[in-house]
């Protein structure tokens, strides 16, 4: 807080430090209580197994597949989320009509539609991409909607008085004004895209890290399971980090970005 230097280093120090501390506690607890490795293997064992895993090119193929599913699904969700969010934000009657349908689509258990997914998209990546996109879509869309509705009426007036076209209004006002909301939605969205892709991989197919989870689980390979979980977590963190860093480039003017020094209050 006090020094900007420390403040800038914190994300790179704080979290890893905390993780190390947590792992130590975990290791000690597991050993002290003699917890079965089947249920919660100690980090040392997981690390060892992880070491083996990362040397296997096969795992990188799986990771690559999962990563692609997440990214494609996420991008799809962003595009759709922005489009639908902006549309519903602008057209009140459409919002009232379409919103329940969207909620419906969200709460409906995906497992019921797996056969449809399989028929339409096959066992391959597409069905996972769809599930990832579906999960990520909702928070993005809702945040964009909130963002569109939170556009300063004064700013709207300026654009109206300047006789701005629909597209000009979008690029100069709506888009930028909604950006902080969109980015917050994207932060949630990327996380749910990860969850979605993994869930998709549980439900079918034989590729990806989610499949590896099922597989290690079935093989009673708890350290392997946790190794895959660590990989998934790292993948998730990296993708989340990418979105997080986007903020600094896209909304340097927003309170949430420029006021990193911390306020007095």
């Amino acid at each position: 807080m006090s020094s900007t230097r420390l403040g800038r280093l914190l994300p790179w120090i704080g979290a890893p430090l905390l993780i190390v501390v947590l792992c130590t506690v975990w290791e000690i607890t597991v050993r002290a209580l003699d917890v079965s490795i089947l249920i919660l293997p100690p980090p040392s064992l997981i690390a060892e197994r992880l070491g083996e895993l990362v040397q296997d090119p096969e795992i990188w193929r799986h990771a690559g597949i999962t990563a692609s599913e997440i990214i494609v699904g996420f991008l799809l969700a962003v595009v759709l989320g922005v489009l639908v969010g902006v549309l519903l934000g602008k057209v009140a009657w459409l919002e009232m009509t379409v919103r329940p349908i969207i909620v419906l689509l969200q709460v409906v258990p995906k497992v019921a539609f797996v056969p449809l997914f399989v028929i339409w998209f096959g066992f391959g990546m597409s069905s996972k991409v769809i599930i990832a996109a579906m999960l990520a879509f909702f928070p993005i869309m809702l945040n964009v909607l909130l963002g569109v509705k939170s556009i300063d009426p004064g700013h709207r007036d300026v654009m109206t008085a300047l006789n701005a076209g629909r597209m000009q209004r979008f690029t100069n006002l709506d888009f930028r004004s909604v950006m902080p909301y969109l980015l917050a939605g994207m932060e949630t969205g990327i996380v749910f895209a990860v969850i979605g892709a993994i869930v998709g991989e549980y439900l079918g197919g034989n590729e990806g890290l989610g499949y590896m989870v099922v597989r290690t689980l079935n093989q009673l390979d708890a350290p392997g399971l946790f190794g895959v979980v660590v990989l998934l977590a790292v993948l998730g963190l990296v993708l989340y980090g990418a979105v997080f860093i986007l903020k600094r480039f896209l909304i340097p003017w927003h309170e949430s970005v420029y006021s990193q020094q911390g306020t007095v209050a």
Binding site: N206, Q219, A222
Partner: protein, 325 residues
């Protein structure tokens, strides 16, 4: 018709030539020795020998696998009697085209502290099952009832098919759980105090069998592929049965596969033994061939115990026609 008219089947080769790809839909992740025959057919090249290229798609559970097969995402699936009957009950024209398992293979794992040696032992116990409403639950209940135990007196609880289920036994949260032979042997290999019993040893259940299934439509459109599939499976089964000490089988399987139960010699041999026992049955015909009497008896058992509605002509639900002899 011939294979050449099969839509979507890779190269159109005609007789003896390439019949293209045949997709088999498994109801579990493929990496288990319960699928040893299918796996061997692929890794030992039995499929190619019959002009097909066998591919696997993995669904999670019997129902999704049947749905996928019916929808045309694959040609063949595998399921238990009760699943097939349920599908027929829903108006689906699924057909048994070969019996791949002739008895219960699933085992109940338990701790030696609280052994399970008979169905009566399980009264008042909590038993973990991988999922409810499916064939596992059905077979367990049938087993209990055939042994004269009211299945309502056994508490069934869904647990993840997961190593930690053993931990739950030790903590007393459950008293036993059902798993595949692979997992059971793996567990026994890892945990000294673990033991297991095969469902069939508690009481006989006729209908606890598994078949390769397809639809009437597939039968009409792609009989050659199906024939080739079954032929390659027959080859694989024969190979395994003939390989008394399983060494060659293991060697062949390990060429293309690697997973915990296969990599562990003793576990793999035990699991393969169970499979082989299930392929052949002294009183029954050649592997894969369905004995019509037993088939009818199986259906009868399900009807009698109220698990399915009475049915007409269950013999039309099966066919041995595609099997070479």
């Amino acid at each position: 018709g011939t294979g050449s008219q099969a839509g979507g089947a890779g190269g159109a080769g005609g007789e003896g030539g390439s019949l293209g790809e045949v997709t088999y839909i498994s109801f579990l992740p493929f990496e288990t020795l319960s699928f040893a025959a299918e796996m061997l057919a692929m890794s030992a090249g039995h499929d190619a020998a019959h002009g097909i290229e066998l591919g696997v798609e993995v669904a999670r559970g019997t129902s999704p696998s049947l749905q996928a097969m019916i929808a045309g995402a694959g040609l063949v699936a595998r399921c238990n009697t009760v699943d097939l009957a349920a599908a027929r009950g829903q108006g689906q024209d699924v057909v048994n085209i070969g019996t791949i398992a002739r008895g219960p293979a699933q085992r109940i794992n338990f701790s030696r502290d609280r052994p399970i040696t008979s169905a009566q032992d399980m009264v008042g116990m909590t038993i973990g099952i991988p999922s409810e409403g499916g064939s596992t639950e059905n077979n367990l209940r049938l087993t209990l009832e055939n042994a004269g135990v009211d299945s309502e007196q056994v508490n069934l609880q869904v647990v993840t098919d997961n190593p930690a289920s053993w931990e739950m036994i030790q903590r007393g949260q459950i008293d036993g759980y059902i798993s595949s032979p692979d997992q059971s042997f793996l567990l026994l290999d890892m945990q000294d105090s673990a033991d297991a019993i095969v469902l069939g040893d508690l009481s006989p259940v006729i209908s606890d069998r598994q078949y390769f299934v397809t639809t009437q439509q597939h039968l009409e459109e792609k009989p050659d592929q199906l024939r080739a599939f079954l032929a390659s499976l027959q080859d694989a089964v024969t190979f395994m049965v003939d390989d008394a000490d399983r060494t060659k089988t293991l060697e062949a399987l390990r060429q293309e596969n690697s997973f915990a139960s296969l990599d562990n010699d003793s576990v793999a041999r035990s699991a393969l033994d169970v499979q082989v026992q299930n392929f052949v049955n002294d009183e029954e015909p050649d592997p894969l061939v369905t004995d019509e009497e037993i088939w009818l008896a199986s259906i009868e058992e399900l009807v009698e115990t109220g698990r399915i509605e009475p049915v007409d002509a269950p013999e039309s639900w099966m066919s041995n026609d595609l099997l070479g002899t």
